[in-house]
Symmetry: C2
Subunit: 152 residues, 2 copies
């Protein structure tokens, strides 16, 4: 399976937006993310629906943060993306008439469920504000070395 990097990507976008007022066009963000503007609009659509960002058309338009960063967790962002699958593995079939399959599924489902619950819980513990603070801390350290925030 191809690893889904939308959560990572959209967090990257949000943190960039948190560093200056905006608005930011999809094209600007796409360049910073080294991708396509349409991809940006796609991943941002869910966040707009939940009110975490706003978008405006026309001159001077673009994307703007519309939430309290200390109130939005990584889990909220994940949900805004449509809660995509967390695990790369799954059962061969659901609704198994085979008792062997039932035994296997029961054991795996238990483990899978626990891991998903922990991951969601961890994501729910981290707010965008915490990430932003971490970024600024890193920025401070690097500034002492006379380097730039953005190199990629």
């Amino acid at each position: 399976m191809k690893r889904d990097s939308r959560l990572s990507g959209v967090l990257h976008i949000l943190l960039h937006m948190a560093q200056q007022p905006g608005p930011f066009t999809s094209e600007t963000l796409a360049k910073a993310m080294d991708t396509n503007p349409v991809v940006i609009r796609r991943v941002m659509a869910g966040l707009r629906e939940l009110g975490y960002v706003r978008s405006e058309k026309g001159h001077g338009g673009g994307w703007t943060l519309a939430c309290d960063l200390s109130k939005v967790t990584l889990r909220d962002v994940y949900v805004a993306l449509g809660s995509p699958a967390l695990l790369a593995m799954g059962n061969r079939t659901e609704a198994p008439g085979c008792l062997v399959e039932q035994a296997v599924n029961a054991a795996l489902d238990q483990a899978f469920h626990d891991a998903e619950a922990l991951l969601l819980s961890r994501l729910g513990e981290v707010t965008l504000a915490m990430l932003s603070d971490d970024f600024r801390k890193r920025l401070g350290s690097r500034k002492h070395q006379g380097m730039r925030a953005h190199r990629a």
Copy 2:
């Protein structure tokens, strides 16, 4: 991403094999699993290398269990498959020069790592023997209703 069901599948195979002496041909197993013999050989290859099963060619050949089921955990089987990715999500890029990306990756990696560790730990707690016992328990219940073990 497409969910990886090889672990589920190979466990299914092993449990079927545990119910009678064998050996089992790839074709027999493939029919029970509703798939192709080559797929069976592919997922069994790793298990053979670790000595959990044996395979023999020619007349009367096929696959045989070669381990103590109470000594092999689901985690062992997972490793035998080549330790495929557990999580469907990952970071956009590794080796990020961008400090924003570093902050995002650090937070996600922590959550991802914890979830993976828990999943591996859970898989390590369950042996094939436990699964087999569970299967036989289910078989017992169903027998009381006059039904067959295999319906799919």
